[in-house]
Amino acid sequence: MSGFRLDQGGRIDRSQPVSFSFDGVTYQGYAGDTLASALLANGVMLLGRSFKYHRPRGLLGAGSEEPNALVSVTRGPGRFTPNLRATSVELHEGLSATSQNRWPSLKTDFGAINDRLGMFLPAGFYNKTFMWPRSFWDRLYEPAIRRMAGLGEAPTEIDPDHYGATYAHCDLLIVGAGPAGIDAALEASGTSKRVVLLDEQDEAGGGALSDPALWKWLEESLKDLAAAPNITILRRTTAFGYYHDNFVGAVERLTDHLPHPADGAREKLWRIRADEVVLAQGAIERPLVFAGNDVPGVMLASAARTLLQRYGVAVGRSVALMAAHDSGWRDIFALARAGVGVAAIIDLRESVDAALLGEAQVLGIAVELGHSVIDVHGRLAVKGVTIARNDGAGAALLACDALLMAGGWTPSVHLWSHSKGSLAWRDDLGAYVPDQPNEAVRCVGACSGKWSFGSGLVTDSLPTPRDQSRIKAFVDFQNDVTAKDIRLAVREGFKSIEHIKRYTTTGMATDQGKTSNLNGLQIAAQALGRPVVDIGLTSFRPPYTPQSFGALAGHAQGALFQPTRKTGIDSWAEENGAVFELVAQWRRARYFPQGGEGMLAAVNRECRAVRSSVGIFDASTLGKIEVVGPDAAEFLNRMYTNPWKALEPGRCRYGLLLKEDGFITDDGVSARLAADRFHLTTTTGGAARVLNTMEDYLQTEWPDLDVWLTSTTEQWAVIALQGPMARKLLAPLVEGIDLSADAFPHMAIREGTICGVPTRLFRVSFTGELGFEINVPAAYGRALWERLIADGAAYGITPYGTEAMHVLRAEKGFIIVGQDTDGTVTPYDAGLDWAVGKKKPDFVGKRSLSRSDIVAPGRKQLVGLLTDDPTVVLEEGAQIVADPAQAVPMTMIGHVTSAYWSEALGRSIALALVAGGQQRIGEVLYVPMPDRVISARISGTVFYDPEGARLHV
């Protein structure tokens, strides 16, 4: 036992004891503790195991920079979180934490065999081995390496928590509520500026929280800030990334510090746009690099002071300090004054400020200048250290149960660097500090390199008489990167810091190198014999500290993940047992099974109804665009492949749209309502794309045209009524429209009313039957649908879904863009020559149709395909060959795009894209399946009623 709770002091609430457990053992702490401080108060020094060597580890720091003390926390079913820093886990009643990366227990970890074998596992060892025998890699080595991976266990259950998100705007965003951040906020209080001050800790105050002399100032300042109406303070909020134009991402933790279960969102994503950003992120103390610097009980001096002043915890009963910087003296003086036993101050420097020496003398602390720690004794806890003069002589044993390291300070320039501000090297600090900003941002306080901690010596690793190549002096504690690993990387030719980082993995652990980067740089520079600035600096990348997937996804979870668009009639389909499919953003009824029918039976029944009587189909998802203005016809003429100017009002036309590269992108039947007004339709998935493309041409290429486009997709519900009885069913409901074949021919549109509401009634057919598409204002779609179902009962009206629609259209050889075409198909390939206006001088995509490979013979063309065995339905996507006996790789000449059982024809049908297909009508080709070869004959694409007699009735 080393650490213990002092009788007084700290900011914890001693009136509120809190019980919690770690690795199944129950302990007591106080409200205001972190898991780390509470464990230390209970004498628990061993908190984790390192990644590679499984070395026993205790605390290094006291904040979010902590690399060692990683734990898993369970908050009930589904609420398991690995890899949390014990220093950032707030204690609450019932907190249950476990250690990680050890088996069977934290004290006895078999994985620590890696530590014994450490000499054979230097940086990059896996590049050099596990290659022979070759067959062992897949079966043995690789799975074994994979099993070694990771720190904590992954969650295994679905997280029941939810997460929130918001945008926020402010004039001034201050990141970090330490003294510098608070000063910046005070300065802005009472102004008209909207100020947001955020801090990652549970309490505002930053470094002031560890300095009782500042507590009164802090209390008063926070009172002033709370009273200022223009200032918002966000605690437990980490600004994790700084993006373009002063856009800062932050996550607020809302419930993890409360006993569970807790109400409300667990975390909230803040997306903050600020006119100005002030970064007051402070600085992080740097460890020193020497043999045994990772034994539990060796920690940052500032962390020991924080544990003392904030939490009333002493890190040991006999504490030594290894300093290269004045700040460590201040820290250990604080411990001494609080009554903690101090073993000695060891300082690398030959001389230090006389005031420090004087104070040490007053406090009765032994001082060894010009000395370094060269070894640490103890495995699970510090038992003592060996020190020696910097020239290697005078080795002596010093008994102690904790060792503090004061290696100087590293300004936290993470967010500054995210914003692409430049950095300048400061030799005196041995650190990079902010230089030129790239956004409206400034750094204040310690993160700008300004602090009152005193000065120090910048080191790479401490001098030692021992063989540097044999000792483990850690640089990156979590990833177990030692000074000798970095020297090995340099020896092997890795000379830029990015290479060294990747080869050794230094700085790539979950702390992202907060305590290790600068030491790594110094050691690499020393090994290379070059100045630090010559070897570069690895980039800082968001996030500042790890952030949960849930918070970053914000409220886009469950029902809010992405909208599922539904028509007004969808609810009827759901009530009537429809099976749905998702098409683009929409949900569409695929078929309506009755009495336990499977899909095929249902679709056959639906198809029969359409061919023999009448079927009803919800076509509301089709895209609709109203094109209005004197130049409407001219505009469409330029966009579509076919001519539009001569289309008479009241008539419809099939339109085909190409991309400028000549390939089909969309199609639809459109109507001319008046000389200057068209009602276009597009595919369901193409609506937004087509509208955007049309706006693009209109605004950019032809701004002189007087025509405007309005999306009307959602204005209209569209009900397709298809089948020989369609007219009879419709006639009694419609007013103002003569439905007779002569007055209202196929491919015409009429406006009138139906059941008292206005309608745009299309006489069109995607089934080959007499058919109407009834457009009514969307609010009336469901009511009209129900009326048609009721009135249609006399005719056996049958609702049909997208699957039957596909079958019916395929029987007629109508293509579906995106299924029978795939973005590489021209109108000629698709057999749509008739839809191309040959006399038009230009339309979008026309020029591409005459490129040499587009007019070359042998292109894949859409044809029909009839299997020799009429009962066999081909598989969509199946490949077609001419010679089924050839060896793999086979020469494939096409593929099946659509294939169905045709109830009307009593056999299977298919559409296919086949090389030179239109010249192959009648040929037999082959579809090699895994288990057999299917033979099929090429045919035309229209299988049913090729004369169109059923349409024109």
Partner: protein, 170 residues
């Protein structure tokens, strides 16, 4: 003719009330998309003035773009379509529904997914914008009152998103 068809709304007509905010569905209204290069031509045709500044609302018409206005008028309002003129008038009454978000925390609820700086989007302004990935037309009709036009099929998602955001206020 049998009885008239009844309207169906894509979201509940019931109010949702949470601390500091109320969500409700506006009743039916007529909506028109008005387009013209020269607003005078539209004004002459319609007989009223249109706002010229993008983002302004005047006489029920919100100027959404340099040549675009959204006119919201009492249900049943009919307009002359201006056939032959260099204008485009398209009825879109049923394309969207209008959710009313009101109360002292209305702006906070909308800020959950809307990237606008609502402090600077004062009463009397209107714009097309987004709530997360869904397009909306946002009209601020009072300091604590917003009307949000959202296409019908997105309305259930949008309403759920607003209710969720309102429930998460603390």
């Amino acid at each position: 003719m049998s009885e008239a068809l009844v309207r169906t709304d894509p979201v509940s007509g019931l109010d949702f009330v949470s601390e500091g905010v109320r969500l409700s569905l506006a009743g039916p209204m007529a909506r028109f998309s008005l387009r013209a290069r020269q607003p005078e031509v539209l004004e002459q045709l319609l007989g009223f003035k249109l706002p010229r500044q993008i983002g302004a609302i005047q006489a029920g018409a919100a100027c959404l773009g340099p040549d675009e206005w959204l006119l919201r008028a009492p249900a049943g309002t009919k307009l002359s379509l201006g056939s032959g003129l260099p204008v485009a008038i398209t009825e879109v009454s049923e394309r969207s529904v209008c959710l009313i978000v009101e109360g002292p925390r209305a702006a906070e609820v909308l800020a959950a997914g809307c990237p606008l700086d609502l402090d600077r989007f004062t009463a009397g302004r209107a714009t097309r914008t987004v709530f997360e990935t869904v397009e909306i037309v946002l009209l601020r009709t009072g300091d604590n009152r917003f009307e949000v036009e959202v296409w019908r099929s997105f309305a259930p998602w949008f309403r759920t998103a607003l209710e969720t955001a309102a429930g998460q206020l603390r």
